[in-house]
Symmetry: C2
Amino acid sequence: MILNSNPLQNLRTYAILGTGALGGFYGARLQQVGIEVHFLLRSDYEQVQQQGLIIESPDGNFTLPQVYAYRNGCDMPACDVAIVALKTTQNHLLPELLPPVLKENGVVLVLQNGLGIEAEVAKIVGSDRVLGGLCFLCSNKVAPGHIRHLDYKQITLGDYRENYVPCGITERMQHIATDFERAGIPIDRSEDLLIARWKKLVWNIPFNGLSVVLNATTQQMMADKQTCALAEQLMKEVVAGAAACVQAIDLGSTRAVPPTFIQTMLDYTAKMTSYRTSMKVDYDDRRPLEVEAILGNPLRMAKRAGVELPQIQMLYQQLKFLDARNRDEFNQAASQA
Amino acid sequence: MILNSNPLQNLRTYAILGTGALGGFYGARLQQVGIEVHFLLRSDYEQVQQQGLIIESPDGNFTLPQVYAYRNGCDMPACDVAIVALKTTQNHLLPELLPPVLKENGVVLVLQNGLGIEAEVAKIVGSDRVLGGLCFLCSNKVAPGHIRHLDYKQITLGDYRENYVPCGITERMQHIATDFERAGIPIDRSEDLLIARWKKLVWNIPFNGLSVVLNATTQQMMADKQTCALAEQLMKEVVAGAAACVQAIDLGSTRAVPPTFIQTMLDYTAKMTSYRTSMKVDYDDRRPLEVEAILGNPLRMAKRAGVELPQIQMLYQQLKFLDARNRDEFNQAASQA
């Protein structure tokens, strides 16, 4: 009996490490089209074990009454693809979480924000077993096991090689892309994961960072000529950082974030509906901020390549101060409760 | 009848333009020792006309039941010294205020924060009629005509010449210093007003600026290694700005803010009791911030001298955004009231 024209496609299994607004959404969409998915949960475990996953979405609401739910990574079966969908502030757990959930030829797909995570994961599982994905997704967890998808959903996929050497469109990337596309998720295939990551930082660094420091929405920042100019300056530093990092590993390379991309991102942001960035949501909910992945790693990578990025540096320092105070206040409130 | 060994000293009259926490304190101290002082007031006029000025101070509380109070500058008599003690955000009023209150040989003493105000005043009254003073004063207005002096009071005086050419200890500076010292105010005589102004910015730019952006006291900022490092970086940019400006007008000059001054200021701030900066007080009270005098003018002066100060630039842009939003909210609240 032939189930599918491509038998491999039918056999791939997925582990979702971090079943939140992002991992829960993509995992549920994969399971919905018949792919075997295993979900790692922490606080939501009981609820999801009992009621399954509830997804609200402009594409149509749906419930998965039964999912493979796990409280501990070591109870999960080895899978073909392990999707890292934790906040990067939880990545210290990966050396323990990843090895047991990977089949011998299994790969890791990092669906996180920021730079350099694939290289960290490669240290755990080997540099030939990692891919990266950049999610353009607007989704919130509104209750345990209950996810509200609001807008966008597309993913840019890129395969990883040591030192972010570009490796084109690989076969395993195609397989994963096919699974996601079957689940209705548009996939952009990138030949250069490093440049794709830096391009996303062109938006993420100024708008995630300033939204927290200035307590502002994207709309407020775009409406003010000072913050608009500041966002552009920060974007120029991101482009300069990308250029320095590429040249440091590949002198004379033409790989680059095109400078015109800055204006594209500014125009796009000006037209967006007003948006509270993910870092602002984390800050308001008193969760740790992804400062190291989004600002710290790019700063350190640029510095190793010989370039200082003074305004990103300052934004990083301001965020570190605010994050530390936010955590202190959270811990004080928790200890008084 | 000889009233005083130095007759000039006895005859000098003062106009205080801006009878707030600073102008009210110094003016009252001058009047207390018998010097003729005329006070310009706006909102507090009625109250002061009726009850005089009340000063609380660790040096001793006192009341001046009767003062020469004016609601309009044009009603004031011409004086020997006009002290500018408005917030710099009110300096657009100076072309109208200054000429009538100055005797033919009268001079203006600018007791404001920031850079470049003496040059602006020189355009109104002539460049040979301006002095600057940097106040190290901790004082609040607690009610109309009621000032609470908390700590410090010393003034650094410097005479002004076109282009901030250093002009040493001048005779007119000595006269004014003598009046203030008679009133118990310690005076530091500076031979170089430009360097004195930049030195004050070494503290004012990082701590006034960051206190507003990060909603933090000096103590919180000094206790965090990120903001402590950021303050030091901003101070280095101030020192670099000063050096560029001096070299632009006086190539090869040895005039400079000594780099060791940075550590002195950091140590001093670490030892200070926790302090809400004047810009933070203005922000919390929804008054306009002195962003242009304290950050905008130094940035523009440095830029003319060929130097960019990227972190001060970013702080300036953040403050302009926050100040504009703060004023909007104030105006909205006022229009709804």
